[in-house]
């Protein structure tokens, strides 16, 4: 693990017994199955559970597993963007006493936690768990363009074309890792590719 302090450390989702409402937002089938496993022993609490599911890998069966929990609402979305639009709309209507749970791949957690933060919900108040790919959400520090699902470093910025080294340096506000020009001194001289 990096010694860069801003690198987010994701936790484990655990239903909070005394929460007045449980609000789950998850992306991908492995996250869906994990949410179903985590919440099924707490069936008595499930009357106050809302689940938003991004079915990004087209896995209907994982979606059915979530629906079978019997939550008050179990809503499915086809993409991350549609999932997060709904997440924002629900956040605006949530009240104190609600516990928020986020579960999914790194880039999803990056963006969703930044949305929560921008709505005044602090990172300490959100439970998170990495479930799925650890490809990152990256901002090119040169053109400020955001790049989704970056699986390795270095990478050419898809906006301005600069070759970027993806650092562990992370912006909670943006929900993105920083990508910094890697070949300024010797253009085209790139370090070996590393996956996350």
């Amino acid at each position: 693990m990096s010694d860069i302090k801003s690198r987010p450390i994701w936790g484990r989702i655990r239903p909070v017994a005394h929460a007045a409402r449980h609000f789950v937002c998850c992306e991908g089938s492995s996250a869906a199955r994990h949410v179903a496993e985590t919440f099924s022993p707490n069936a008595e609490a499930l009357k106050q559970v809302t689940i938003l599911y991004g079915n990004t890998d087209r896995n209907e069966e994982a979606g059915h597993t979530l629906d079978a929990l019997g939550a008050e609402a179990s809503l499915h979305y086809p993409t991350r963007q549609t999932l997060l639009i709904s997440f924002k709309a629900h956040l605006k209507r949530l009240h104190m006493g609600a516990q928020i749970y986020l579960c999914g791949p790194e880039a999803f957690l990056n963006e969703a936690t930044a949305i929560a933060e921008s709505h005044g919900v602090l990172k300490e108040a959100v439970q998170t768990e990495l479930c799925g790919a650890n490809a990152r959400r990256v901002q090119c520090v040169h053109c400020k363009g955001l790049i989704e699902n970056v699986a390795y470093t270095p990478i050419a910025c898809e906006h301005c074309g600069v070759n970027l080294m993806v650092r562990d340096h992370y912006s909670r506000r943006l929900g993105a890792f920083m990508g910094v020009c890697v070949d300024a001194e010797a253009p085209g001289d790139l370090p070996a590719r590393e996956s996350f």
Binding site: H18, A20, L94, H95, A98, E117, G120, L122, A125
Partner: protein, 319 residues
């Protein structure tokens, strides 16, 4: 360790209610009192006839800009004489030493809505917070629990300035502030701050937790006065000094009396600065602070010297 201090003169002293006195202070040694964020407190050094007391008092809203500081002090019967001294012995022209302001009860500026809850004299930091939020045009509401209107310090000023944001609870007719009833359906980006009597703070925090409010969104400030107890001996191992802690004296005060500069900040069991390692003890530590966790208390190898004591004969500290 005490940080910078200021020599001040009381330039104004007036009763706010029959039991609350306000002091305004200005530096007399050419220094300017710095601006203080809402929720800050200062330590007043009070030379009472019997002993030297160092008490923490929250700064009033008028102190935010610096220049002068104001505190409001409730006369309490069970105190060690600090509040009585402020009421009976201090007046315009009195000179005092005060500490630099310290804030252990700051506003969380990442929150979008702020619920301020005050009980009685707990209004002092809460009023400063209301003013800071008001000036910044931030969303807040103020819940103020008082015995009755004549006893509500600064009540008229608060109502005039903050209008409908102010909600009152009169205990003399049985009104109580309850989180579930007063704060239904609070938006998710709310933070709550409470200051008042110990029992009230505990009740508010417990109610909110039971309703699923997260600890991260709850803030409280409680200053304790040291309270007395049976005398005991303390050995300061590194300084090689032994001293007896008197019946009406705190451990920290005894340590200071023999000239040892021990760490401290709030002197009220809140900040954790005075935590000291216990080398040996022949009794049980009476933990009276709000800082150590239950596990740390049970471990018995640390003591907060400002408020806690030994029930026993001899305590050896790593000081």
């Amino acid at each position: 360790m005490a940080g910078e201090s200021f020599l001040v003169r009381v330039t104004h002293a007036d009763p706010v209610t029959t039991s609350v006195k306000r002091l305004r202070m200005q530096a007399i040694d050419g220094k300017t009192l710095p601006p203080a964020s809402a929720g800050s407190h200062i330590i007043l050094t009070l030379k009472t006839p019997n002993r030297l007391l160092k008490n923490a008092y929250s700064l009033l809203p008028s102190s935010l800009d610096g220049g002068t500081y104001e505190v409001a002090v409730l006369r309490t019967e069970d105190s060690r004489g600090g509040s009585t001294f402020v009421h009976d012995a201090l007046s315009e022209g009195s000179e005092l030493t005060i500490s630099t302001p310290v804030n252990l009860f700051p506003i969380n500026r990442r929150a979008r809505h702020h619920v301020l809850v005050a009980g009685g004299i707990g209004i002092t930091p809460i009023a400063a917070m209301a003013e800071e939020l008001f000036r910044d045009n931030r969303s807040f509401e103020l819940h103020y629990c008082i015995r009755n209107e004549p006893n509500g310090a600064f009540l008229k000023d608060l109502q005039a300035r903050y209008g409908e944001r102010v909600h009152l609870y009169h205990s003399d007719i049985g009104e109580r502030f309850g989180v579930a009833k007063a704060l239904p359906q609070q938006r998710i980006d709310t933070h709550l701050y409470v200051c008042g009597p110990e029992g009230m703070i505990g009740a508010v925090l417990n109610d909110a937790s039971a309703l699923g409010w997260l600890q991260e969104n709850l803030h409280a400030e409680r200053f304790l006065s040291p309270g007395g107890g049976d005398p005991f001996d303390v050995v300061l191992r590194r300084s090689d000094i032994e001293v007896t802690v008197g019946e009406h004296e705190s451990l920290l005060e005894a340590i200071e009396r023999v000239g040892v500069d021990a760490p401290h900040l709030c002197r009220g069991g809140a900040c954790g600065q005075c935590r000291c390692s216990v080398v040996e003890k022949d009794g049980i530590i009476q933990h009276r602070d709000h800082y150590l966790t239950q596990e740390e208390r049970e471990a018995g190898d640390a003591i907060m010297t400002c408020v806690s004591r030994l029930k026993g004969q001899r305590l050896e500290l790593d000081l």
